[in-house]
Symmetry: C2
Subunit: 202 residues, 2 copies
């Protein structure tokens, strides 16, 4: 199984700009990437980071500056083994959640993310291609049907939560125990529960 | 096992006011309640609806107009069997997700919701009490520790998604297949994926 972790090395997590500087966004995104790589490593995978620019990290790196969809589809078209794609911003992912993804039967195994995303997938069918634009979970169900591939969906909160917006930091503070959660705490973030639950910076 | 489904019969889902009238909110909330009751029924439970006002529905009803926390804690304090609490606004819940909740070992089994909520729980420990205010998942972990109860957390997207805000309707349209999803479609809601994924009403 080939395991790809796409990563934006240049300008990641732009929707966190209201609470993090560009350098901080890069550092936080990298902490989250390392958490994902560590969880994959813990269940015996050797992930490759598919990055938009060179990256100094202790994992194999493939640089491809194209958008996500063609970059992944190139690997799907040319791989002679199953391919998994796990997003780098799954900052509360656990080895147990990933193990459920990889252990599930199905030509195509998909883990829905909030708001229509596909946060992780395993493709064991040679004809399956991705399309990450729009409500990708719906498009991936249809893409699998088109090539007659069986689809299994993984029902996981930890795979569903990607960290895009300031409100998502609440999930990292409540459920994360890796580098991303530590980075937030070291940089002054904590939970506030006054009017509603949110992440504030002191 | 006693299974309680709390329900606001008077003014439910106020944060959907931007897209639904008061009557529509009541109808949608009721559709979601029925989906939750049907999923519980499918795995052999006989849920009781813990409602703030009388309710004409084909399930046992307990009327208690107190806030959620004391209403639940009263039942926890007086029940001589385990008590489960499953929220009525889990509009994409499945019998399979609930089965994972009920099958899990642990004195206290909790399913985290987004933004710190506790969307479902099973209490098998006589000393455990709930507190739904604020980041309840954190408080429930602590409450279990205080009475020396083992805690198991259920990692489920379908248990984590409660329908509070207009953006949450996206999840119902993408992942729901019960009455709540049908109600939305019948009332003109559909998915838009132009700039971002959202639920629009035609």
């Amino acid at each position: 199984m080939r395991v790809l972790v796409p990563f934006d090395a240049v300008d990641p997590k732009t929707r966190l700009s209201a609470v993090l500087s560009p350098d901080e966004r890069r550092a936080f995104a990298r902490a989250s990437l390392k958490d994902v790589l560590a969880a994959l490593d813990a269940i015996g995978h050797d992930p490759e980071v598919l990055t938009t620019d060179s990256l100094d990290i202790d994992s194999p790196v493939i640089v491809d500056d194209r958008p996500l969809t063609p970059a992944i589809n190139d690997r799907l078209a040319t791989s002679d083994e199953p391919v998994a794609v796990v997003m780098a911003d799954l900052a509360i992912v656990t080895a147990a959640a990933l193990d459920r993804l990889f252990s599930a039967d199905g030509d195509v195994v998909i883990a829905p993310g909030r708001n229509g995303g596909t946060n992780a997938l395993v493709a064991r069918h040679a004809g399956f291609r991705v399309d990450y634009h729009g409500a990708s979970i719906r498009d991936h169900r249809a893409a699998a049907r088109r090539v007659d591939a069986d689809v299994t969906e993984i029902d996981s909160f930890r795979l569903a939560i990607d960290i895009d917006e300031p409100d998502d930091l609440v999930e990292v503070l409540l459920h994360g125990d890796g580098r991303a959660a530590a980075w937030l705490r070291e940089h002054g973030f904590e939970l506030a529960t006054d009017d509603r639950v949110r992440a504030v910076r002191r």
